[in-house]
C-alpha cells in the first residue's frame, strides 16, 4: 500500500509516558474483524480513550485538546505483543507519521516502517528531555530529519541522532516498499526455490 514519502517532519507531539505499551492497547483484538484497511484510527487506544459506554475518558492524552501533532512519543518498549499490523495502521490512520521511544518491540518496528511510519529510537535521557519539554510547553515542536537521521527539540536545539538501516531509509524517503523490491528480484527467488530443500 502506497504511503507518503518521509523526509523532514516538524510537528508538535503527543506524549504517552507509559512503558510496555502493547499492541492490545494500541488496537484491541475485537477491532481486528475488518477485511479492509479502513477506519482503524477511530479505535486507536480504544480502551484507554473511551469508557465502556463510548464516552471519552477525559484524562487520556488523545482526548486532551492541548496536545496534537504528527509525532507520538511513547515510553520504553513500545509496541510489544502481537504481530498485528493493525496497530501500526491505527497509528498512521489517526494521523501520526513518527513514533519516538527509547526502545521498540521488533515486530512493531518492522510493521511501522513497512507502512510508512518512522520509529525513532532515542536514549532514555533524551526521551526524558522530550517529555519534559512537552510538559513545560505542549506546543513545543520536534523536528525529525530522516536524511540527516536526527531528532531535535526545536526551541532548545537539543538534538540526538538515530539509527536506521540504509535500505529502509531509502524506502521511506521514496515511498517504496519491500514488495516492489521483491517483485524485481523474482527470477533470483525462483532459482533459489528450485534448489531449496523443502
Amino acid at each position: 500500500m502506497a504511503y507518503d514519502k518521509f523526509t523532514v517532519l516538524k510537528s508538535t507531539a503527543v506524549p504517552l509516558p507509559i512503558e510496555n505499551v502493547d499492541t492490545d492497547q494500541i488496537i484491541p483484538a475485537r477491532f481486528l474483524k475488518a477485511t479492509k484497511r479502513e477506519g482503524f484510527g477511530d479505535n486507536l487506544f480504544r480502551d484507554w480513550r473511551y469508557n465502556s459506554d463510548d464516552t471519552p475518558k477525559q484524562d487520556f492524552v488523545l482526548n486532551n485538546p492541548i496536545y496534537s501533532g504528527k509525532i507520538l512519543v511513547g515510553g520504553k518498549n513500545f509496541g510489544s505483543g502481537s504481530s498485528r499490523e493493525h496497530a501500526a495502521w491505527a497509528i498512521y490512520d489517526y494521523g501520526f507519521r513518527c513514533v519516538v521511544s527509547s526502545f521498540f518491540a521488533d515486530i512493531f518496528k518492522n510493521n511501522s516502517m513497512n507502512i510508512g511510519i518512522l520509529p525513532v529510537q532515542v536514549s532514555d535521557a533524551f526521551l526524558e528531555k522530550i517529555f519534559q519539554a512537552i510538559e513545560a510547553d505542549p506546543k513545543v515542536e520536534l523536528e525529525v530529519d530522516l536524511p540527516q537521521q536526527t531528532i531535535t527539540i526545536v526551541p532548545t536545539g537539543a538534538s540526538e541522532s538515530f539509527a536506521i538501516n540504509g535500505y529502509k531509509k531509502h524506502n521511506l524517503m521514496n515511498g517504496f516498499d519491500d514488495i516492489d523490491f521483491l517483485q524485481d528480484i523474482k527470477n533470483e527467488i525462483g532459482r533459489f526455490a528450485e534448489s531449496s530443500r523443502y
Binding site: E19, A29, D106, I185, K186, F192
Partner: protein, 468 residues
Amino acid sequence: MSTKPTSLFDKVWDAHVVKSMADGPDVLFIDRHFIHEVTSPVAFLGLHTRNISVMFPERTFATADHNTPTINQHLPVADPLSANQLKALEENTARYGISHWGLNNPKNGIVHVVGPENGITLPGMTIVCGDSHTSTHGAFGCIAFGIGTSEVEMVLSSQCIMQPKPKKMRINVNGSLSKGVTSKDVILYIISKLTAAGATGYFVEYAGSVFENMSMEGRMTVCNMSIEMGARGGMVAPDETTYAYIKGREKAPTRAAWDEALAYWKTLKTDEGVVFDKEYNFDGADIEPMITYGTNPGMGIGITQTVPSAEDVDAGKASFAKSLQYMGFHEKEPMLGKTIDYVFIGSCTNGRIEDFRAFASLVKGKKKADNVTAWLVPGSHTVEKQIRDEGIYDIITEAGFELRQPGCSACLAMNDDKIPAGKYAVSTSNRNFEGRQGPGARTLLASPLVAAAAAVTGKVTDPRTLIS
C-alpha cells in the same frame, strides 16, 4: 570448507538467504507460510490492487481459528464481521489454490497446533505466519516467527521476507524439574527473570537437560512464549524426541526421503565453541509452579511468593502501579488464596493433548468449584479426538467440566469467549495484557496444573498440595 563453529540458528538462517544487502536486511526464503482469517484479508487485497499473484501456493496453509466460535460450529457464524472474515479466507484461498482447513474441516484448529500435528512443520525450515506465536514451531529446530500483514503479502507474492539478522542468545536450563513444575512454569520463570523486553532483538536457542528431557508439546509451549520476552523467536535443536514425534504424520517424509531428511536433521545443532551474543544459565530445581500478578508476562512469581513491591522491580514504577491497580492487587500480598472467577485451558501455548492430560490428572475424582466458569478449548479437532479416545473426556465431565470446540477462543477474545470486566481468570494462554481476554478482564497466566487447581478450589492454589 570452513570449520568455524556455527550455531543452529545460523545454519538454518544462512541456508535461506537469497540475497544479502549491505546496510540492509537479508532477503530470506520462507519454506512454510501459515495464514488465518484475521491478518490475511488486507494482504490478499494488496495482491489484487497491485495485480500480482501468489508465487508458490503450495507453500502456504490456511486455517480458521482466531475469530471462530467454540460452540455450535455447525451453525452459521452469528457475528457478521467474523463470518465475513471467514468467507474472505475461503474465497481468497480458493482463488489462488491454497490449502484451507476451514471451520468443520476435521483438520481445523489453531494454526500453531495443526502445523506440527500434520507434519507440515519440519526441522530446519523457515516458517512465518501473521501471528506472533509462530515462534511455537521453533520447537522443531525451525526459524519461525510472526510477521505483519505487509509481510504476509510479501510471502504470498514472492515467498520471501526482508529481515535484518537478529542477534543470538542461548538460555540453558539444567538440572531437573520438581513435581508439579511444567514447561509453562519454565518459560514463565525465564521471562520473569529476563523481563518482557529482555530478549528484544535476539533469537533464542533453548539448551540444557531440562529441554532435552521435555516432550515436543512442552518444547512448543516454551518456544511459543519466546515472543513474550521480546525475542524474535526461540528454537530447540531436533533430537530423537523430535524425530519420533514427526514420524508417520501425514505430511512427514517417508522411506528414502525420510532417511535423507533424518541425515540432514542430525546436522542441526549448535557446534561446540560457538559464542552467543548473550547467554543465560538457570537451574531447573529453582523453578516452582508460576503465576503472573501483573499485566505483562514478565510479571510472574512462584505461586507461594508475594507480589513484589515497587522498589523490587526494574521496570517503570508508573507502569507497575498502573498494572497493580488494573489487577486489583497490592504490593507484598500473597497470590495463594485469591478467589478467581474463570479458568481457561487452551490456546497454542497450552491447548495440546499433554495439557488436557495434565488438567485431567489433577481434577480426576474432584469437582469443579461452584464460583468458577471454566472454558476448556482444545487446540484442534485432532486434540479433541484424542481427549475423547483417551478417556479424558469422561474424567473432566465427571468433574463437572464441559469441553468446547477448537479455536483461539479466550486467548485473544475476538469471538464471544470474553472474560467480563473486573473478573479474574487463571489462563493457560500467553498474554495477560490489559483487556487481552476481554475489556477489563484480569488474567493470571499459569500452567494447566495451576489452572486445574484453581478450577477445583475456586482460588489460586498450589497444585502440589493436590497431587497425590
